[in-house]
Structures are given as structure tokens and as C-alpha cells.
């Protein structure tokens, strides 16, 4: 039975429906919490004239009852219009996300590639050399990567490589070298995490009976490891990769702040201090939807990785 024929359409439809319900809950909760926070988009140090504030409120519909605002907003979301930013006149939240994402996704994508390209092989090498120096070295570095917060890694790396050695620019992405430090700082934790996970999962798999069968067949050690061990040990790795992808692609406020990158993470935090209602909502919805999509993709990957898994369409 090929994976394609196992694609469970009914399950998929159900899953998407559940995602929409979840999204509605996210919208409602964020909306409620946001309005529960004191202040508003037009409250600032310099007092606006009351009539101007009233006019602004009327323009953005903030003079209407809350339930009305909620329904209006939902209507917008249905047509994929996340509304105008309250803080930056003439800027729509859609374009704000698009601009921020363009920056964040570049570093995020590179970070994901690093996590997979270095984390997984490091775990494999460590498992292959269990107890010997490559294992010890890899796991020592990985423990550091997990224990040291990304902003410390970022600041130290910035100080050494940008300020002292001058090998990389201190901020911005104008030069390809500008990517190195932010990507490193972003991926450090997850790279370490994935390396440790791959190692432990592979070691566990290598203790399974079917690995002994593979050895008894006369397969060389590396074939046993790669063909029989790796695939089965990748399931837990794939499980964390879904949320990791969502996490990295939607950016890190701290890293974006340190390297002065105009990414979506920065927009998000600023929109909260600004009480930029539509921006808060928009970015939250975007993040939630993206995360759910990633989890869905992970669940579909399981079908391909493990033929024992089925989502109830068959039988």
C-alpha cells in the first residue's frame, strides 16, 4: 500500500474544520484579552483633543459596542483582510505581516536549514560513536546550546565577530555575512535540541529487535544504521520540527532587536505596546494558523514515515 493511497481525505476535512474552530477561539480570546487591557491605540503622552480622539475612534469603529467591533473584525478575517494598522496611517496589517515576514522568513528559513543540516547529522555521529570523544564533544556543545539563552549567544557572538574581529556586520542584512550571526543565534538552541533528540532516539531504535534481525542478515553496520535505524528514529524528530519551523519562521523578537532586523517579531511586540489592536490580532492569528498548518504537515509526514499509522479512513 503506497502512502498516496493512504491519504485520508475524510480525516483531512475534519482536521481543517477543527483548525477553523481553534482559530475562532484564538480570535475571540485575543480580542477579549486585548480589550481588557487598559489603554487604547490613541492614548499617548501628548493628549489628543477630545474631538480628534472621538473622530479617530469613529473612523476605526472603536465607538461601536464591543460585540459589534468583534463581528466587524470577524467579517474582515473571513475575507482575509486583517484591517488597517491603527498606529501607522495608511499601512494595512496584511502588508505589515508581509513586510516583516519577508525579513523573518529569510533568517528563519536559513535557521531551519541549519537545524536539520547540522542538528540531525550531529546526533547521528554522536550515536554512532556512543561514549567516545565525538559523542562527548557533540553532546557538550549541545548542552551549552540548550542551556545558554539565545540573547547571550547573540550578544557574545556580536561582540567577538562583529566588534572585535570585524568579520561580520553588526546589524542589517545588506551583506550575506550579515545573516551569519542572526541565523546562528536563532538556530543554536534548536540545533542542540534536535542533535540530542536524534542521538537518543537513534540509540533507542538501535536497541530494537529488528536491528538485530538486520545485523543477522549480514548487512554492514552503516546500512543497518541508515536503512533500519534512522527512519524509525526520525519520528520524534519530525514531531518537534513542526513547531520549530513555525517558531523560527515567525521570528524571535529578541534576536531581531539585537541585530536590528525589521522582522515580524519586532512588529508584534511593538504593536502590543502601541495597543495597535488590528496588528496584535493579525499577527496572533497569523502565528496560530501557521503553527496549526505545521502540525498538520507533521501529522501527514507520520503517514509517510510510519506505515502503521492510519487516520481512520481505512478499514
Amino acid at each position: 500500500m503506497s502512502s498516496a493511497s493512504r491519504l485520508p481525505i475524510g480525516w483531512l476535512v475534519q482536521r481543517v474544520a477543527m483548525m477553523l474552530v481553534t482559530l475562532l477561539a484564538v480570535i475571540t480570546l485575543t480580542f477579549a484579552l486585548m480589550h481588557a487591557v487598559p489603554g487604547g491605540p490613541f492614548v499617548s503622552e501628548k493628549m489628543l483633543a477630545p474631538e480628534i480622539e472621538a473622530a479617530l475612534n469613529a473612523k476605526f469603529g472603536l465607538d461601536q459596542p464591543i460585540w459589534r467591533q468583534y463581528l466587524n473584525y470577524l467579517g474582515g478575517v473571513l475575507t482575509l483582510d486583517l484591517g488597517p494598522s491603527f498606529k501607522y496611517p495608511g499601512v494595512s496589517v496584511n502588508s505589515m505581516i508581509a513586510d516583516g515576514l519577508a525579513v523573518t522568513a529569510q533568517t528563519g528559513l536559513l535557521a531551519i536549514i541549519c537545524v536539520v543540516a547540522f542538528g540531525v547529522p550531529a546526533g547521528i555521529v554522536a550515536a554512532l560513536n556512543r561514549g567516545r570523544w565525538p559523542d562527548t564533544a557533540a553532546m557538550f556543545i549541545a548542552s551549552l546550546g540548550i542551556a545558554v539563552p539565545s540573547y547571550v549567544i547573540a550578544t557574545v557572538a556580536l561582540y567577538i565577530f562583529a566588534l572585535r574581529l570585524g568579520w561580520t556586520p553588526a546589524f542589517g542584512l545588506d551583506d550575506w555575512r550579515g545573516y551569519i550571526l542572526p541565523v546562528f543565534a536563532l538556530s543554536g538552541f534548536w540545533m542542540s535540541f534536535v542533535a540530542r533528540l536524534t542521538r537518543s532516539s537513534l540509540l533507542e531504535t538501535m536497541g530494537q529487535d529488528y536491528i538485530m534481525t538486520a545485523r543477522a542478515k549480514g548487512l554492514p553496520a552503516h546500512t543497518v544504521m541508515l536503512r533500519h535505524g534512522l527512519r524509525n528514529s526520525l519520528i520524534p524528530v519530525v514531531t518537534v520540527l513542526g513547531p520549530v519551523v513555525a517558531n523560527l519562521l515567525t521570528g524571535s523578537f529578541v534576536i531581531e532587536q539585537i541585530f536590528a532586523l525589521p522582522g515580524i517579531g519586532r512588529h508584534f511586540v511593538q504593536s502590543i505596546t502601541n495597543r495597535d489592536y488590528t496588528a496584535i490580532m493579525g499577527i496572533t492569528i497569523f502565528y496560530a494558523a501557521f503553527l496549526m498548518l505545521m502540525i498538520l504537515i507533521v501529522d501527514l509526514l507520520y503517514l509517510w514515515l510510519d506505515p502503521r499509522i492510519s487516520y481512520g479512513d481505512r478499514k
Binding site: 536497541g207 538485530m212 524509525n232 514515515l305
Partner: protein
């Protein structure tokens, strides 16, 4: 007698663990004749599985073979490098494991798992290997072989999976098949079928089989010759008929007495009392002595193997590691209780 296909001499295997070194096998000699089914029987921890896995150096982490010779095909298998061993494993000696639920890779079709071993050892095309896999499926009587070959292990029942395992082990026409508790995980009717299949395949293909089990019933039904293991040593070996008719070693007798007899329903079971020794610190003498109802003072000295020479109680080819089988011993030693 023709030259044996495998001869194992003074095999010693230990497992080094955090809590001490387990002496799993302590000097086992074994000869396997061409085409014979040799049963290894014993309780868990007796060293029966470790003995067979040592032949191919398929030991779990911590396992070390400390001495011994395994003569096969004019070579000592225990001296071969890992690389040289890959040419023997699966090609000259096939293995069937205990639990067919976990011994097959769950993410690979059974067909691929057979084709894989063929491609490893034979210079044949993928297509030819697949055809051979179908043939093997038919050989082990898996119905609708041609379509079942593309199924995954979880789509088979336990008995069918064990047939798949046997097909994999036999793929390259091995000289020896090691079957490590092949029926322990199966229910009784399926057990029967698998044992009958093994016997039939031996008759048709002529390979020798080492059958490991803790079940004397399996031995009675399937094996030609049997070795009773305890504490990492051979306690007794004999032709199956001789062992059941005239067991010599008190341990063997205890095992036979423990088999429930349906004709005497209601009679309480008579187990072998006590528990097996801790193999980190095995008893200095006979390993069974602490549980033996007939133990003597001399049992604290390790007994050698005694054969039928001068001992009418033993049949030709029957051997026992028990001081009571010593035909030359002065009678008074038997009167000294320990």
C-alpha cells in the same frame, strides 16, 4: 560419522553491566551434524540464546566472547572480523528470532526485507530478487504470496510474521538455521504449524537447525538431539528419545517431572524447587547443586562431562555433567550427603 557442519569448543561469553559481569556461557561444547535439528533447552538465563548468538557474534551491548572456537566451513567464526562475518550472517547461517512482532522492521514492506538480504549476498537484479522472494513466501506457505509481499509487518498475524522471518533466514539457502525460541511468542496451534514447517523445510533443504527453547514439548516434537543447559553449561546431552526415556542428570529429571501429565489430572505440579543461580557469582561447583535433591559434598567441585564409557545408565552419545554419572567413582562418595 561425517564431519560436523559446526563445532563449538569451550565457548565462554560474558556480559559486562553496571552491576557486575554476568558469566552467561561458561565453557560450552557443541557439535552440529549436517541436516540435524539440535535442541538447546534450559530456563531463562541458562545461556542457551547467548550460546547461539555468540556463534555469529550477534551480542547485545556489553556482551563479550572471552574464549572459544566456533569451527565452521574450515574457519573459526569467533576470529572473523565484523566485515568477514557479514558474509556468513544471512548467507551461510540464518537466524529466526523469538518475537516476530518486533523482529521485523515496521516501516518496511516484508518484500523489501527479504529482497534486501538477497541483494546483499547474491549478484542478482532487483527483479530476480523479488521473484525469489515470492518463491520463498510460497515455500513457507504464505497465501497469495505475490500480493502479500508488498504488505507491512503489522498487516500480518503473528504466525505469518514468523513465516516471513523464516523466509528471510532461508533466503540464501544457509547451511545452518538458528531458531531462537521461534514459537515462544505464538499461541499453541500456530506453534505446531511453525515447528512442522521447520521440520519439513529441513527435510527438503537439508540445512541443520539449532532450535533454542525452554519447552521440552517442542524438543520432543521437533529435535533429533538435545542439549540441556543450566548456569551457562551443558548439563546433559543425548538423542531426544534417550533423554526422555532415561534422563541421567537430576536437573533433566526435574524438568521432565515438571511437565504436567494430562492422564494424572489433579495431581499437584512438581516444579524444580529453588531459583537459578546469580550468574555474576555462579556456584563454584555444579551450578545445579544448590537446588539438587541429590547433591553431595563432591558437587562443590565442578563435575566434568561423563559419557557412556563404562556406564550402563548412559546411552551411546549421551553425556552428563554430574558426579553421579561417574562410573569409576568409589561407591562411598554417593553416600556422603552435603
Amino acid at each position: 560419522m561425517t564431519a560436523p557442519v559446526l563445532s563449538l569448543r569451550d565457548l565462554r561469553t560474558e556480559y559486562r553491566t553496571d552491576r557486575g559481569t554476568v558469566q552467561a556461557v561458561r565453557g560450552i561444547d557443541l557439535t552440529l551434524q549436517r541436516g540435524e535439528i539440535l535442541g538447546l533447552v534450559g530456563e531463562s538465563g541458562s545461556g542457551k540464546s547467548v550460546t547461539c548468538m555468540s556463534i555469529l557474534k550477534l551480542l547485545k551491548r556489553g556482551g563479550h566472547i572471552t574464549s572459544g572456537v566456533a569451527e565452521f566451513d574450515g574457519r573459526d567464526l569467533l576470529q572473523l572480523s565484523e566485515r568477514q562475518l557479514t558474509a556468513v550472517r544471512g548467507e551461510k547461517i540464518g537466524v529466526v528470532f523469538q518475537d516476530p512482532m518486533s523482529a521485523l522492521n515496521p516501516t518496511m514492506t516484508v518484500g523489501r526485507q527479504i529482497v534486501e538480504v538477497l541483494l546483499q549476498h547474491r549478484k542478482i537484479s532487483r527483479k530476480a530478487a523479488r521473484d525469489r522472494a515470492v518463491e520463498l513466501f510460497e515455500l513457507v506457505r504464505i497465501p497469495s504470496a505475490r500480493t502479500r509481499i508488498d504488505s507491512y509487518p503489522h498487516e500480518f498475524s503473528g504466525g505469518m510474521r514468523q513465516r516471513v522471518m523464516i523466509a528471510i533466514a532461508l533466503a540464501c539457502d544457509p547451511d545452518i538455521l538458528i531458531a531462537d525460541e521461534p514459537t515462544t511468542a505464538l499461541d499453541v496451534t500456530i506453534q505446531r504449524q511453525i515447528l512442522a514447517l521447520l521440520k519439513e523445510l529441513r527435510d527438503r533443504l537439508g540445512m541443520a537447525i539449532i532450535l533454542v527453547t525452554h519447552d521440552l514439548g517442542v524438543i520432543a516434537e521437533t529435535a533429533d538431539r538435545v542439549m540441556v543447559l543450566y548456569g551457562g553449561q551443558v548439563m546433559e546431552e543425548a538423542l531426544v528419545a534417550d533423554l526422555f526415556a532415561a534422563p541421567c542428570h537430576p536437573y533433566t529429571r526435574g524438568l521432565l517431572a515438571a511437565i504436567p501429565d494430562p492422564r494424572q489430572a489433579g495431581r499437584p505440579l512438581s516444579p524444580v524447587r529453588g531459583s537459578p543461580p546469580d550468574m555474576r557469582t555462579p556456584p563454584p561447583g555444579c551450578p545445579f547443586a544448590p537446588r539438587c535433591p541429590q547433591a553431595m559434598r563432591i558437587c562443590e567441585t565442578p563435575p566434568p562431562m561423563f559419557d557412556a564409557t563404562g556406564n550402563p545408565a548412559l546411552q551411546a552419545g549421551q553425556r552428563a555433567r554430574c558426579w553421579r554419572a561417574d562410573a569409576t567413582a568409589p561407591a562411598q562418595i554417593f553416600e556422603t550427603p552435603s
